[in-house]
């Protein structure tokens, strides 16, 4: 069963902490995405990556960075967590030959206190 695995289902962090959200896929997909989901706002794209070490900003990149050192892993980094980053974070991946065939992870619900 193919998977996108997000390392934490729930996470509580303090304001100012550096936070790492990890995402691993086992499908050899080239493209990986980080979305943020908030009630009433839907899903908004933070960053995406189309290859190792390659990244592109999405619609709301401020306060975030990403890392893709290996094809299967795409990390989202909150350099200094703030309360307005409390949200649900969804990772997804797709293959080049089926770029709309999204496989999503189960999400990480992050609370910053």
């Amino acid at each position: 069963d193919v998977k996108v695995t997000q390392s934490s289902r729930y996470l509580v962090k303090r304001t100012g902490e550096k936070v790492f959200l990890e995402c691993v896929q086992d499908m050899d997909h080239e493209n990986m995405f980080w979305y943020r989901q908030d009630p009433g706002l839907g899903l908004r794209l933070i960053y995406f990556s189309y290859d190792v070490k390659m990244k592109e900003k999405g619609d709301i990149p401020e306060g975030y960075s990403v890392s893709r050192e290996k094809k299967e892993r795409f990390s989202l980094i909150l350099e200094s967590a703030s309360t307005n980053q409390t949200s649900m974070y969804l990772c997804a991946s797709t293959a080049v030959q089926d770029r709309y065939g999204y496989t999503f992870g189960s999400g990480t619900r992050l609370t910053v206190v």
């Binding site: 493209n31 995405f33 979305y35 009433g40 706002l41 839907g42 899903l43 908004r44 794209l45 995406f48 189309y50 592109e56 999405g58 619609d59 649900m88 969804l90 997804a92 797709t94 770029r99 709309y100 065939g101 999204y102 999503f104 189960s106 999400g107």
Partner: protein, 116 residues
């Protein structure tokens, strides 16, 4: 950027009944894809149905079908014979114009509750 609009934040339907979720979008493209995703309480996003704009026939997947009105830029999802397991958040989505990388724009979602 494209816009995808879901005007119904919440809907409810009785089991076995039919419900329609609305979605409108804006694009200047002639050929594109449209999607409906389902997010149950487990939070795992699942593709429900996909429509290609150049196909005149409305897509159907078992109890799920779409009413695609290209001129009106409308893409509604009809769920027939609703089941308790259909309770979920539903998102309409379409690809970024000109993107070869597969990024999607999502609507704000419609929370559907199916009650016994």
């Amino acid at each position: 950027a494209q816009t995808v609009t879901q005007s119904q934040p919440e809907m409810s339907v009785q089991e076995a009944e039919t419900v329609t979720l609305s979605c409108t979008y804006d694009t200047s493209e002639n050929n594109y894809y449209l999607f409906w995703y389902k997010q149950p309480p487990s939070r795992q996003m699942i593709l429900v149905i996909r429509q290609e704009a150049y196909k005149q026939q409305n897509a159907t997947e078992n109890r799920f079908s779409v009413n695609f009105q290209k001129a009106a830029k409308s893409f509604s999802l009809k769920i027939s014979d609703s089941q308790l397991g259909d309770t979920a958040m539903y998102f309409c989505a379409m690809p970024d114009r000109g993107s070869t990388l597969g990024r999607l724009y999502f609507g704000r979602g419609t929370q559907l509750t199916v009650w016994p």
